[in-house]
């Protein structure tokens, strides 16, 4: 079997699998970095004011959602995988996974930085800490849009 034959008979499932993997991997990278950033900032606060743990946890969780969106897309692709799927379908699914993978990655880091800054609001002016949450959520909008498009793309075209 040469490479062309391999590509035409198995390329579909390889690309689709790669897409699912990237959707999970890239958005997971981003969320891990984002959640980590906020966690570091929050740890400093816990030394002085451990009673703010609950609120800091909310801020820390915010950049975690991108990883979950990627996970959902990965799961949806998983349902469509089939060893005999065509190359075109596989590459299409691969493309469908890119929005949440890439946007999820970058936006989770940006959101993590915003949420980490929100920890400062929590530290100095607890009453207004919800505003820090809202700033961070502004960033999430773009991850949500990417998620919606990935979701529609994965299901839009029937092969």
């Amino acid at each position: 079997m040469n490479f062309t034959e391999f590509l035409s008979s198995y390329g579909g499932v390889v690309f689709a699998g790669l897409g699912a993997a990237l959707a999970v991997i890239l958005s997971g990278f981003g969320s891990a970095i984002g959640v980590g950033l906020v966690g570091q900032a929050a740890s400093g606060l816990m030394i002085e004011e451990p009673q703010k743990f609950g609120k800091s946890l909310v801020l820390q969780l915010l950049p975690g959602t991108q990883g979950l969106y990627g996970f959902v897309i990965g799961l949806l692709v998983l349902g469509q995988l089939d060893a005999g799927m065509g190359l075109a379908q596989g590459m299409y699914i691969f493309a469908a996974c890119l929005p949440i993978g890439l946007v999820g990655w970058v936006s989770a880091i940006a959101q993590g930085k915003t949420a980490a800054a929100g920890i400062a609001i929590l530290a100095k002016n607890e009453e207004h800490s919800t505003k820090g949450i809202i700033y961070a959520v502004m960033v999430e909008t773009y991850a949500l849009l990417a998620f919606v498009i990935s979701l529609i793309l994965v299901n839009a075209v029937a092969f």
């Binding site: 969780l61 959602t65 207004h128 919800t130 505003k131 949450i133 949500l144 919606v148 979701l151 529609i152």
Partner: protein, 648 residues
Amino acid sequence: MAIVKMSNFSLFAFDSKREDLLHELQEFKYVHFSDIEMDDSLKEIGLTDVKVPESLVAIDEDISKVKYGMDLLGKYYTKETGLKAMKKGLETFEFKELEEKALKIDYHSIYNQLKELNTEKEVLRQEISKLNTAISELNPWVKLDSPISELDSFEQSEIVLGTIPKKLTQKLQGELTDTKYTYFEVLSESKDDSCVLAMTSKGEEELLKDILRNNSFSRVKLTGVKTPSEEISDYESRIKRLKEEVTSKENDIKILANNLPDLEVEYEYLLNKKLRFAASEKFVKTDNVTLIKGYFPTDMKEEFTNAISTTLNDYYYLEVEEADKEDANTPILLKNSKFVQSFQSLTGMYALPHYNEIDPTPLLAPFYLIFFGMMVADLGYGLLMLVGTIWALKTLNLSDQQRSSIRFFYYLSFSTIFWGLVFGSFLGGIIPLPALINPAEQYNELLVISIIFGIVHIFFALGVKAYILIRDGQPLNALFDVGFWYMALTGGIVYLIAMVMTVPPFLKTIGFAVMVIGMAGIILTGGRDANSIGGKAAGGLYSLYGISSYVGDFVSYSRLMALGLSGGFIASAINMMVDMLVAKGIIGILFGIVVFLVGQAFNIFLSLLGAYVHTIRLTYVEFFGKFYSGGGKEFKQFRNKPKYINIK
């Protein structure tokens, strides 16, 4: 309704009665004082600022004493935690009750006792740490088995102790082989240095010292009389005794720990007292008369004048008038029905309205309710919320604020249940339910529904803007800024629908025509505030460019569908894992239960948090952006916000 009507007052009263008056007004609580700014015209008629620095300093001192006691006792006082404490909640006091109780508490004596005990404890602690240092200094020399006092008492020989760098030890030993009457020993080694003992005859002393000096020797003088190990054990037994004393002091402090609740009451009382002094610095006075200005809710006029006349009898002059609509300094107090009131915190978090605006809370509440439910959209989660909030409202002793925020989620649970039924989702599909819309398959329909909700939401907001403009007597502006936008947007939407779906062709033409008229109107009127013709044209075009932001606004509502979907998918992914585990037998079932509970709990938390903040975003950015500016001052009740107790 909505924004409470305010009256402003000017009160002239005798300065000698000031404190009594403030006390009475604090009990009444609905008074907001204005800070009267001193200017030349007031100075000319002989008014001066009221200053009470001594009272403020004195009360700050008392507060810091009470706080000191609270901080110290907080470490030893075991507060009830968990369910029992939640049921009990914070103790509630009437304002009078609080004062009576606080005046009986002798916090000075508690403070003095605590201060004394704590100081003694600190002294003991310092002593212990001194002894510990001494021990660590002696530790390297424990091998030395002769008493320290005897080291200097030899007649024929000389003994030196000291440290040299570890890496020079070999070299030193080599150089010492030349001497005749010198003994050398390494007693112990630390990371970098060796502790050494050298003994020599008086004759060779100089030679030894030279060699040592060349090897970076530094001499150590030990303190004490007995051998180092004996000294150490002496020190240790002294430390033990001191530690016992520290514990006994701590026990004495612990006995006082029961005073903590009293101190907390005292603390709240003192903060309220401080607020009274701080308030009087806002007033101005002549030699005998104080001028006080401020606001109170109009419908409480009777209570307000009663409070004044009871303390001042007839010796006062009071002027009251309705607050001016346009006065930006009028403080804002919101009053709504029970349902709307639980959404008030959302308005407060954004910005309170100006006195001439409308309270947006009743307008945002129904949309918030629908959108929140759509984002969580699970029958199981909704039922859990309902049961949880009802339980909390029935059994827990909550402050008004906590009660209102729990009621907020109580109302939201109904919407969550409703949407859960629409989507046929129960804990992520663990029990199959008939669905009106199946989100996993009909997400396109769901997306359309979301956008339609968005259109309704935004059109409603524009409608409110038109209402405000017409109310303020600017019907033309309402037409220009809202009417034309309605036309452009509606026409555009109809036109777009006609392009992708088959509808009677005249609809497409009408849609197009309406859109063009609307757009033309926007171009012609959008720049009407500019001075030049060019400016007007550019302003009009720029206004029309705003249509791109409307597109963005509509797209933003796709989150209604996205959050519902992602929550649902995560829940079903958890259920999938549980299914796999359960198929593995008994142990699998046990693990499955754990995964199910933890996973679903996590997803509930995440879904609620996501729905809460994303609905806030839709409200603040898309909805408020159209008609609401806010920025009013909060009506500050003449009470300090209590932390440790509830005050009625």
